[in-house]
C-alpha cells in the first residue's frame, strides 16, 4: 500500500527539487509563516485589544509555555499520523500511561522525577513497537483507515480504564524536584513548565537529527514517501512502521514525564491533548517536526490570548474553528508546501 503522508493532491506536481532541499525550505517556510502571523497577531492585541499590557504579557508567556507542552505531545503524533497514516486516538492515553509510569517509579522507588522520565522512554518505545507490530501491522495491509482508527480508539479506552482500575480515579501529584517560578518581563513562569518547554525543543531537535542523519530516519522518510518503492529496494516496511510507532511513543513518554510535575494526575488527564495534538499536527503539516513545534506554540498562544477575550472554554472553540477551516482550505497545513 502507499502511505498517504501528503494530503489530497490538488495542485500541480512538485517541481524537480531534491527531497532534502524541499524538507529544509518547507521547514523554513513553516517557521517564518507562523512567526509572522504570531508577531502580527500579538501586535494587534497589544495595540488594539484594549487590555492591560501586563495581562497580555502574562498571556503571552503562559501561552508560549503551554504551546511548548502541546508541541511536545504533538511530536509523536506527527510521526504516527504523518508516516503511518494512523489516526492515533490513543495519543493522549499513551501520554497518561507515561505519566503514571513516572508516578509509579517516583512513589515506589523514590527516585528523582527526571530520572524516572529517562527510564520511561525505553518502556514506552517498546510499548509503541509492540502496538504496531502486534496489532496495527495486521490492519495496515488492506489500506483502510478505519480499522487502525478503531483499534486506536479501543486502545485509548483500554489504557485509561486499566489505569483507573490500578490507580483509582483520585487525583495524584508527582513531586517536582525543580519547583518555584521566575519572572520574565514581569510575567510569572513556572520552572517545571520552562523545563518542559526546553524539553520540547530538545526532543524536536533530536527527532530532526534522527530523521535526517540516521539510517533509521532515512528508511522512515523513504517509507513515508513511497512504501512500495521502499520495500522494493529492501527496506523492511513493517519493521520501519514498528520503529516509527515506537519513536512516536517514546517522544510521548518524554512529554508525559515533563508534564507530570505540574499536572493533577487522573486517568483522563491525557484526553484533552489527543484532540489538540491532531489540530496541531494538521495545522503544522503532516509529518513535519518543525510544523508540530510551531503549531503547538501557535495554538498555545491562540488559546491563552483568546481566553482574554472569550470567556470560559470559548477560546478552545476558536481552536477547533481554526482546525476545520484549515482542513477545508489548506489540508497540507497552514504553511505547508502543497505536494
Amino acid at each position: 500500500m502507499s502511505v498517504d503522508v501528503s494530503p489530497p493532491k490538488t495542485g500541480p506536481t512538485e517541481p524537480a527539487t531534491p527531497r532534502g532541499a524541499m524538507w529544509r525550505s518547507g521547514t523554513l517556510r513553516i517557521l517564518l509563516g507562523v512567526l509572522a502571523v504570531t508577531v502580527i497577531g500579538l501586535a494587534l492585541v497589544y495595540l488594539l485589544g484594549g487590555k492591560e499590557q501586563s495581562l497580555v504579557t502574562q498571556g503571552v508567556v503562559t501561552g508560549l509555555l503551554l504551546g511548548g507542552v502541546y508541541a511536545l505531545v504533538s511530536l509523536g503524533l506527527t510521526l504516527i499520523f504523518g508516516v503511518l497514516g494512523i489516526v492515533n486516538f490513543a495519543q493522549g492515553a499513551m501520554l497518561t500511561l507515561a505519566m503514571y509510569l513516572v508516578y509509579f517509579m517516583v512513589t515506589t522507588f523514590g527516585i528523582n522525577t527526571y530520572i524516572a522520565v529517562a527510564l520511561t522512554v525505553p518502556i514506552m518505545f517498546v510499548f509503541g513497537w509492540l502496538v504496531q507490530s502486534v496489532l496495527m501491522n495486521r490492519l495496515i495491509a488492506d489500506g483502510t483507515h478505519e480499522r487502525p482508527l478503531l483499534v486506536a480508539l479501543g486502545l485509548a479506552l483500554l489504557i485509561v480504564n486499566v489505569l483507573l482500575m490500578l490507580f483509582g480515579g483520585l487525583p495524584e501529584t508527582v513531586p517536582s524536584p525543580a519547583a518555584g517560578s521566575i519572572r520574565i518581563f514581569g510575567a510569572i513562569a513556572d520552572v517545571p513548565r520552562l523545563i518542559a518547554f526546553a524539553g520540547a525543543l530538545v526532543v524536536a531537535g533530536a527527532l530532526i537529527l534522527v530523521l535526517r542523519k540516521t539510517p533509521l530516519g532515512l528508511s522512515i522518510r523513504a517509507v513515508a514517501a513511497n512504501g512500495t518503492g521502499a520495500s522494493l529496494v529492501g527496506v523492511n516496511v513493517k519493521r520501519v512502521y514498528a520503529m516509527t510507532f515506537g519513536v512516536g511513543a517514546a517522544t510521548v513518554a518524554v512529554a508525559g514525564g515533563l508534564l507530570a510535575p505540574f499536572s493533577s494526575l487522573v486517568p483522563s488527564v491525557g484526553d484533552q491533548f489527543t484532540t489538540l495534538a491532531f489540530v496541531i499536527v494538521v495545522l503544522g503539516g503532516l509529518g513535519s517536526v518543525a510544523g508540530a513545534v510551531a503549531g503547538g506554540i501557535f495554538i498555545g498562544l491562540l488559546q491563552t490570548i483568546g481566553a482574554l477575550f472569550l470567556p470560559g472554554s470559548g477560546s478552545l472553540l476558536l481552536v477547533f474553528a481554526m482546525f476545520v477551516l484549515v482542513l477545508f482550505v489548506r489540508p497540507q497545513g497552514l504553511f505547508g508546501v502543497k505536494r
Binding site: L150, V151, L163, G314, V324, L327
Partner: protein
C-alpha cells in the same frame, strides 16, 4: 413467477424484492419476540435492555452513513446531541410534546449533517480527514453547549417529573413496559428504513459509490446527491435516539449529548456486530449493552469467588474495549458479518 416471458429487469426486481421481503419478515418476527420481553425479563434488567435499545438505535443510524455509504463519521454525537437538546429545550421552554420533538430534532440533525457532509465532500475530505473533521464538529458542539446560557451551560437540563402518566409528554410509571416498547418500535422502524434504503435505487447507488466512486461516477451516478441521502437518514435516526434518551433519563448535559463517549456508543456495537450489515448493529448492541452492565454490576456487588474485583471501576469499559480491538483485528467483518460469510460459503 408464473409468466413464461420474464424480462431480465423484472427478474432482478423480483429477486431484490424477495430479499427485502425476507428481511421484513425476519424483522417482524424479531419485534414480536422482543415485544414480550417485559413480561419475562426481571424488572431489574429492564433499564439495561432499554439502554441497549438506545445504543442499538444509534448504531443503526451510524451504520447507514459509515457502513453502507462508507463515510466514516467520528462525530455522530452531534446528531444525538441535537436531538437530545431539541427535545429538552422544546419541552421545558415551550411544553412541546416529545413526539413532535422527534420530528423537529430529526429534521434539524439531518440539516446539520447535510451541511457538514456537504462541506467535507466539497473540500474533498476523505478517509481519515473526513473522520477528523466530523470529530472536530462534535467538539465544537460540545464546547458551544458548555458555554451557552440558553441550554444551562455545563449544568444541563432536567425534565420535570410528572405526577401522572402522560402519553403526550411520554412519561409513564417507572416500571411501565411502554418505556421498553417505544425504543423497540423506534429500532424496528430504523431497521425497516435501512431495509427500504438498501434495496432502493438510492441505496444501491450509495453502496456503489462506497465501493468505487470513480466507476460509479462514470456510470452517471451523481456522487454528491447519493452520498447525502444516507447521511440525512442516518443523522435523523441518531437524533431520534437522542430524543428518547432525554425522555427516559429525564436529564441532558453537554458531555452526555456531544461527548466522545456518545459517538463511541454508536460506533462500537455496529463494528462488533458487523459494519455494513443489516443485523450487525442490533446484534452488537445486544452483546455490548448487557455485557457492560453485567460487568459493572459484578464490580459493584461481586459474588464471593470474584471478591477481588470489588470497586474496580473501569473494568466494564476495559473489557469492551479489549473486545473491540480483538474484533477489529481478528473479525474485521464483525460477528454477524463473519457468521454470514461462513454460512454462505
Amino acid at each position: 413467477m408464473t409468466s413464461a416471458t420474464i424480462t431480465p429487469g423484472r427478474t432482478a426486481r423480483a429477486l431484490r424484492s424477495t430479499g427485502a421481503r425476507r428481511h421484513y419478515i425476519t424483522l417482524v418476527i424479531v419485534l414480536v419476540v422482543l415485544f414480550f420481553t417485559p413480561f419475562i425479563a426481571p424488572q431489574t434488567t429492564m433499564a439495561v435492555l432499554i439502554r441497549t435499545l438506545i445504543i442499538a438505535l444509534m448504531a443503526i443510524g451510524w451504520n447507514l452513513m459509515s457502513g453502507y455509504a462508507g463515510m466514516f463519521s467520528f462525530g455522530h454525537a452531534v446528531f444525538f446531541g441535537i436531538g437530545a437538546y431539541t427535545d429538552a429545550v422544546l419541552l421545558t421552554r415551550f411544553g412541546i410534546s416529545p413526539w413532535l420533538s422527534m420530528f423537529v430534532g430529526a429534521a434539524l440533525a439531518a440539516g446539520v449533517g447535510l451541511l457538514i457532509t456537504y462541506l467535507c465532500l466539497k473540500y474533498r475530505l476523505t478517509g481519515s480527514y473526513f473522520a477528523l473533521a466530523t470529530f472536530a464538529f462534535a467538539q465544537m458542539f460540545l464546547l458551544v453547549s458548555m458555554n451557552l446560557p440558553f441550554v444551562n451551560k455545563t449544568e444541563g437540563i432536567n425534565i420535570p417529573l410528572l405526577p401522572n402518566e402522560s402519553w403526550a409528554l411520554m412519561q409513564f410509571a417507572p416500571d411501565s413496559p411502554v418505556y421498553f416498547w417505544i425504543p423497540l418500535v423506534l429500532v424496528g422502524g430504523a431497521i425497516a428504513i435501512t431495509i427500504a434504503f438498501i434495496s432502493a435505487r438510492s441505496g444501491q447507488f450509495a453502496q456503489a459509490i462506497r465501493d468505487d466512486p470513480t466507476a460509479a461516477e462514470s456510470l452517471g451516478i451523481n456522487l454528491m446527491r447519493y452520498r447525502l441521502i444516507p447521511v440525512a437518514i442516518s443523522c435523523a435516526i441518531t437524533a431520534v435516539a437522542g430524543v428518547y434518551y432525554v425522555q427516559y433519563y429525564l436529564f441532558i448535559a453537554p458531555e452526555q449529548a456531544f461527548g466522545l463517549q456518545v459517538t463511541t456508543n454508536g460506533i462500537v456495537p455496529a463494528v462488533i456486530g458487523g459494519m455494513s450489515t443489516l443485523w450487525g448493529p442490533l446484534i452488537g448492541a445486544a452483546l455490548i449493552g448487557p455485557l457492560s452492565a453485567g460487568i459493572a454490576n459484578i464490580v459493584r456487588n461481586p459474588p464471593p469467588v470474584l471478591a477481588f474485583v470489588k470497586g474496580l471501576n473501569g473494568l466494564d469499559v476495559a473489557v469492551y474495549s479489549a473486545l473491540l480491538i480483538a474484533i477489529v483485528v481478528f473479525l474485521p467483518k464483525g460477528i454477524y458479518g463473519s457468521i454470514r460469510e461462513r454460512v454462505r460459503r
